[in-house]
C-alpha cells in the first residue's frame, strides 16, 4: 500500500489504543488487545481516512454536511427524506480504485492467514470525547459476509449507516458537529463459537475486585446478551486462580450462524448437552488468566466478551471479542474497609468492643 492508499487499511497488530481517531473505538480496542498478546478474531480496519477520501470523492463541496447542518433535530420527516437521499448517493457512487485495491488486499491477506472464512463487518465510530459507546447500535454491523465483493459492499453499507435517520437525529439532538465526522470499519473473521459468554473482572454482585465472574452458554454469545438462555455461571478467585463456584444451568436454546440470512438463528440445545457445563476447568482457568491479563493491561476492571471457537486450522481456541472498562462499580464511591490505627491491636478493640457485625 503506497501513495494515497497508505494508512487506509491497517492490520490489528499495527493498531494501538491511541489510534482511536483513525480507526474508531472498536478497531482501536481490538488492535490494543492484539498488541497485548490477547487472541482476538483476526482482521483489519478500513480507517477513517478511507471514509474521508470516499466522501471527498462523491461530495467535494461538502453539500452532504451542509444539508444535515440545515436540519432541525425535531423535524423527523425532513431528516428521513434528506438522509435517504444521502444514502442513495453513497450506494450509487463508485469506489475509488486505490481504496478498492487496499480493501481487497487486506481481505486477501486475511484469507491467506486464516482461510476463506465468513467475516463480520462492523462500524467503528470515532468521537472527540471518547464516548463512542453511546453510538453503539446506531451504526450497522454485517455478519457472515463472504467474498471480496461482499466485504466492499458491507464497508460501503457501514459508511452509509452513518447517515441513517437514527444516527443523524442523534447527532442533531446532541449537537455533535458534522465537521470531521468519520468512521472506521472493522473487517474481522467470524468465529463459529462452540460456547461463548461474558466475563467481569470484578464481581458484578458486590464489586469484589478479587473475583472474576463468568457466564457462558452453548453457541454464539447473542443468546446470552439477549437473555434468551440462562447461562452457566462460574466464579474464579483472581488471586489464587481457584474456581470458587460453578453453577451449571439448564440451557435449552443456542444461537447458531444463519449464513443464508447473514445473521443468527435460534436452535434447541441437544438434550444431552443441556445440563452439561459449557466450560471445563481448564477453560475456566484459561479464561480467568486472560481476563487478568487484560485488566492488568488496562489497569482497571473489564467487561469482556469471549468465545471458544475453531481457529483457521480448525483447532479450538479462546477468542476475546470485546473488552471495555467496567462502569457500574467504578462509579460507586466505596468507604475504606479500615484505616490504620496508632497500634495494630487497637483494631481488636474496635471490633470486639461492640456487639454485632462491623
Amino acid at each position: 500500500m503506497t501513495g494515497q492508499s497508505s494508512g487506509v487499511v491497517l492490520h490489528f497488530r499495527d493498531i494501538g489504543i491511541n489510534d482511536r481517531p483513525t480507526v474508531g473505538g472498536k478497531g482501536a480496542s481490538l488492535g490494543e488487545l492484539t498488541q497485548a498478546g490477547i487472541r482476538v478474531p483476526p482482521g483489519y480496519v478500513v480507517s477513517t481516512r478511507a471514509f474521508e477520501r470516499f466522501l471527498a470523492g462523491i461530495d467535494p463541496q461538502g453539500s452532504i454536511r451542509h444539508a444535515i447542518e440545515g436540519l432541525a433535530a425535531d423535524d423527523l420527516l425532513a431528516i428521513s427524506r434528506v438522509t435517504q437521499g444521502i444514502r442513495e448517493r453513497i450506494a450509487a457512487a463508485s469506489m475509488p480504485t486505490d481504496l478498492r485495491d487496499a480493501i481487497m488486499a487486506g481481505y486477501a491477506a486475511l484469507c491467506a492467514d486464516e482461510g476463506d472464512f465468513p467475516l463480520a463487518i462492523r462500524s467503528s465510530a470515532t468521537s472527540e470525547d471518547g464516548s463512542e459507546a453511546s453510538f453503539a447500535g446506531l451504526q450497522d454491523t454485517y455478519l457472515w459476509i463472504r467474498g471480496g465483493d461482499g466485504v466492499l459492499h458491507a464497508v460501503r453499507d457501514c459508511w452509509a449507516s452513518l447517515y441513517s435517520s437514527e444516527s443523524v437525529s442523534y447527532r442533531l439532538r446532541l449537537k455533535l458537529p458534522e465537521e470531521g465526522l468519520a468512521m472506521g470499519v472493522v473487517v474481522q473473521r467470524m468465529v463459529n463459537s462452540r460456547c461463548s459468554g461474558v466475563m467481569f473482572t470484578r464481581s458484578p454482585l458486590t464489586g469484589d475486585r478479587s473475583i472474576i465472574a463468568m457466564e457462558g452458554s452453548w453457541g454464539l454469545g447473542s443468546a446470552i446478551v439477549s437473555g434468551e438462555v440462562t447461562p452457566d455461571k462460574y466464579v474464579v478467585n483472581k488471586v489464587t486462580g481457584d474456581i470458587m463456584k460453578r453453577t451449571v444451568s439448564h440451557k435449552t436454546v443456542m444461537h447458531v450462524p444463519d449464513l443464508a440470512a447473514g445473521g443468527v438463528r435460534e436452535e434447541p440445545v441437544p438434550a444431552e448437552r443441556r445440563d452439561v457445563a459449557c466450560l471445563s476447568d481448564e477453560e475456566i482457568v484459561e479464561l480467568a488468566r486472560v481476563g487478568k491479563t487484560i485488566e492488568g493491561h488496562y489497569r482497571c476492571p473489564q467487561d469482556i466478551e469471549w468465545a471458544f471457537a475453531p481457529d483457521g486450522s480448525g483447532r479450538e481456541s479462546l477468542y476475546l471479542l470485546q473488552s471495555r472498562p467496567e462502569t457500574i462499580w467504578a462509579n460507586k464511591d466505596a468507604n475504606p474497609a479500615a484505616t490504620p490505627k496508632a497500634r495494630a491491636f487497637d483494631h481488636v478493640f474496635t471490633v470486639l468492643g461492640r456487639r454485632g457485625k462491623t
Binding site: 464481581s203 454482585l205 458486590t206 464489586g207 469484589d208 475486585r209 478479587s210 473475583i211 466464579v235 478467585n237 483472581k238 488471586v239 489464587t240 481457584d242 474456581i243 470458587m244 463456584k245 460453578r246 466505596a334 475504606p336 474497609a337 479500615a338 484505616t339 490504620p340 490505627k341 497500634r343 495494630a344 491491636f345 483494631h347 481488636v348 478493640f349 474496635t350 471490633v351 470486639l352 468492643g353 461492640r354 456487639r355 454485632g356 457485625k357 462491623t358
Partner: protein
C-alpha cells in the same frame, strides 16, 4: 445467648427425651450439666467439633475444666466487652454449649476499658509472654510425668521409716490424684490465656477481608494467616525422616503393612549399628512428636501414636514404599511460602488506597504475631499434655482394678472424676484399715450398665442446636472456633428437602470437585485400609492422618472449620475438602460413590 424466640426451627431442651434403653443416663454426669427449665429460653448448640461422641462419665472433665479456663479469661481476667463465658449442658451424653452475652451498652463500655488495659498488655508483650508460656507448659508436662501413683503394697516402703517421712503412702494416692486434676485445670487455663486474644486478632483480619473483598472465602483468608513451619506438620515430618533413614541404612525391608512394630523394634535392636542408629532416631522422634492423639484430646480412648505404634509404623512403611518407587515425600515448604507471599501481595495490591493497605498490614501483622501460639498450643495442650495425662490416670485405673473395685483399668473412665476421687479415697481407707473396699460390690454392675448405655447413646443423632435462634451471634469465640454465624444457623435450620437425603453440607474447606469411592474410617488406626484414589470420610483429622493424604482424592470430615487440620492439609495437597458436615461418617458407607464439591461445601451420595 438469650434472645427473643424467632423461630421454632430447633427443638427446646425440654423437648428432648431419653434415647430408649438409656434411661438413667443422667446419673453418669454432674447435676449441674442437666438442662433446667429456664434453659428453654437460651440458644444452645451441639459442640460436635470437640465432642463428636457421647461422653464417658470421666471424660466430661474435658468440658467442665476447659470451660472453667475459657470463662475465667473472657469473663474475669481480660474482661471481654461483649461476652462472658461458655456454659455447657449434657443431654443423652452430648455436650451442648452457649455463650452468655453482655448486651447493656454501659456495661460493654465499662468492660471495654478493662479489656483495653489488660488485653493491650498481652498484645504488647506477646512474644515475651509466649516464650514464658512455653516454659510453664513444659514444666507442667514434666510435673504430670513425674507424678507417682502409689502401688499400695502389703507393707509400706522402709524409707517411710528410715527417712522419718511420717506419712503413709495411701496419703499420696489422694495427693497424686488431686495433682493430676489440678494440672489438667492449669493446662486449660494456660490454653485459654492467649487463645481468645489470638482469635480476636484473626477475627479482625477476617472481618476486614470480608469488607474489602465481600466474596473472599474463609479458606483464602486462612491461607494468608496460616503458618507453614508449624508443629502440626512436625509429627508427619518425623515419620518421613525415619522412612528416609531406614532406606539410607538399608533396613527398609523390616517395614511393611502387616509387621508388628514390637517385632520390628526387637529385630532392629539385634541388627547392629544400622538398627541401633534407626532406633536412636526413633527415640528422639517419638518424644514428643509421637505424643499425637489419634483424636483431638477430648476422649480417653483417643490414644497417642506412642500407645499404638502401628499407626506411625504403617505410615513409615508407606513412605518407604514411595521412596523406593522414586516418588517425592518432601513437603514443598518453599513453594508454599512463595505462594502465601504471592497471595498476600496480590490482595494487598487490589486494595484501593494506601490507607487500606496500612490497615491491612497492621491486621495481618497482628495475625502473624499471634499465630505461633494459636497454631502450636494444640500440640502442647490437647496432644502432648493430654495423652500423657490420660495415661497417668490409667495408673489409677490399674490400682482400682488391682483392688478389684473395677473389672478393668479402662473402666476407670466410666467413673466421674469426683466418683473416681471418692473411690480412690475408699481404697486408701481400706488399705489402711486392712479391710475389703465396699467399692467391690458397688461399682461393677453400675459400670457395666454405664458402658451399655454409652454404647446405646452412640445411636442418637443430636440436633445441631436447641432453643430459640438469637438475632445475632456477636461472640468472636463462637465465630472463629466453631464457625457459627447467623448464616450457619440458617443452614442448620433449613427444612430438609428431597435432595438433602443424598446431600451433606459442611464448610468448603479446599476447592475443587471430584467423584470417587468413599472409605469411611473412624480412627487413624485404620489408615492402612485406605486405597489409592479413594475419598476419605472421617470424624476429624489431625496430624495422625498425615500419611494418608498422599493417596486420596478428597476429604470429608464430621468436624472442623476452615482453619482445621483437614482443611489446611487438603489445601496444601490441592484436593477438595468438605469439613464440619456433622454426620458424614454416619450417613456414608464405605464403597458408595460420592461427589465432593469443595467449592460449595456439599457432599453428594451418588449411589
Amino acid at each position: 445467648m438469650t434472645a427473643p424466640a424467632k423461630s421454632n426451627a430447633f427443638p427446646l431442651p425440654s423437648e428432648i427425651g431419653d434415647v430408649p434403653g438409656t434411661e438413667g443416663w443422667q446419673n453418669m454426669y454432674p447435676y449441674f450439666t442437666r438442662f433446667r427449665p429456664e434453659d428453654d429460653k437460651v440458644f444452645w448448640f451441639y459442640n460436635a467439633m470437640h465432642f463428636p461422641e457421647p461422653m464417658p462419665a470421666f471424660d466430661v472433665v474435658t468440658a467442665e475444666i476447659p470451660y472453667q479456663g475459657l470463662g475465667a479469661f473472657t469473663t474475669r481476667v481480660f474482661s471481654f466487652p461483649t461476652t462472658l463465658g461458655v456454659d455447657h449442658r449434657i443431654v443423652n451424653g452430648r455436650i451442648y454449649i452457649t455463650a452468655y452475652p453482655v448486651t447493656d451498652p454501659a456495661e460493654i463500655g465499662r468492660r471495654l476499658g478493662l479489656f483495653q488495659e489488660r488485653a493491650g498488655f498481652y498484645y504488647q508483650n506477646w512474644d515475651r509472654l509466649y516464650a514464658e508460656w512455653k516454659e510453664r507448659m513444659l514444666a507442667l508436662i514434666k510435673e504430670v510425668e513425674d507424678i507417682r501413683v502409689p502401688p499400695l503394697p502389703e507393707f509400706d516402703d522402709i524409707e517411710v521409716v528410715t527417712s522419718g517421712r511420717g506419712i503413709g503412702q495411701n496419703h499420696y494416692v489422694r495427693e497424686a490424684y488431686h495433682r493430676c486434676i489440678e494440672a489438667f485445670s492449669k493446662m486449660w487455663h494456660y490454653h485459654f490465656e492467649f487463645l481468645m486474644l489470638g482469635y480476636g486478632a484473626y477475627l479482625v483480619f477476617f472481618q476486614f477481608c470480608k469488607k474489602a473483598f465481600p466474596e473472599i472465602t474463609d479458606q483464602t483468608v486462612a491461607r494468608m494467616v496460616a503458618g507453614i513451619d508449624v508443629f502440626m506438620f512436625r509429627p508427619d515430618e518425623e515419620l518421613k525422616k525415619l522412612a528416609r533413614l531406614a532406606v539410607e541404612l538399608g533396613i527398609d525391608g523390616k517395614f511393611g503393612d502387616d509387621v508388628d512394630p514390637a517385632d520390628t523394634m526387637l529385630a532392629l535392636g539385634q541388627m547392629g549399628d544400622a538398627g541401633r542408629k534407626w532406633l536412636d532416631q526413633m527415640e528422639k522422634s517419638r518424644h514428643p512428636w509421637f505424643l499425637m492423639s489419634t483424636g483431638d484430646g477430648f476422649y480417653h480412648h483417643h490414644r497417642s501414636w506412642n500407645d499404638d505404634l502401628s499407626v506411625p509404623f504403617s505410615a513409615i512403611a508407606r513412605y518407604i514404599g514411595m521412596l523406593k518407587k522414586g516418588q517425592s515425600i518432601e513437603r514443598p515448604t518453599e513453594k508454599l511460602k512463595v505462594e502465601r507471599k504471592h497471595i498476600i501481595s496480590e490482595y494487598r495490591g487490589l486494595l484501593s488506597t494506601d490507607e487500606e493497605r496500612g490497615a491491612f498490614d497492621q491486621m495481618l501483622g497482628l495475625c502473624h504475631l499471634v499465630f505461633p501460639f494459636v497454631e502450636d498450643h494444640k500440640f502442647y495442650c490437647e496432644h502432648w499434655f493430654t495423652t500423657i495425662w490420660f495415661n497417668k490416670l490409667r495408673e489409677f485405673g490399674a490400682l482400682l482394678a488391682r483392688w478389684g473395685v473395677i473389672a478393668d483399668a479402662e473402666d476407670f473412665f466410666h467413673l466421674h472424676h469426683t466418683e473416681a476421687d471418692l473411690t480412690l479415697q475408699e481404697v486408701s481407707l481400706a488399705w489402711a484399715t486392712g479391710s475389703v473396699p465396699a467399692g467391690r460390690g458397688h461399682w461393677k454392675p453400675i459400670l457395666k450398665e454405664r458402658k451399655r448405655i454409652w454404647e446405646k447413646l452412640k445411636e442418637w443423632s443430636p440436633p445441631p442446636a436447641l432453643g430459640p435462634i438469637p438475632d445475632d451471634i456477636a461472640d468472636p469465640a463462637l465465630q472463629m472456633l466453631w464457625g457459627i454465624t447467623s448464616e450457619t444457623l440458617a443452614e442448620w435450620a433449613r427444612t430438609p428437602d428431597a435432595a438433602s437425603e443424598h446431600e451433606l453440607h459442611g464448610f468448603a474447606a479446599s476447592p475443587g470437585v471430584v467423584e470417587g469411592v468413599a472409605r469411611v474410617l473412624k480412627s487413624a488406626n485404620d489408615i492402612g485400609l485406605m486405597k489409592d484414589g479413594e475419598i476419605l470420610v472421617c470424624p476429624v483429622t489431625n496430624p495422625s492422618w498425615g500419611p494418608v493424604f498422599g493417596k486420596i482424592r478428597a476429604t470429608v470430615s464430621d468436624i472442623g472449620g476452615t482453619m482445621s487440620h483437614a482443611a489446611i492439609v487438603a489445601r496444601e495437597y490441592g484436593m477438595p475438602a468438605v469439613v464440619g458436615t456433622g454426620t458424614a461418617t454416619k450417613r456414608i458407607k464405605t464403597g458408595q460413590r460420592l461427589r465432593v464439591d469443595g467449592d460449595n461445601g456439599v457432599v453428594t451420595i451418588l449411589d
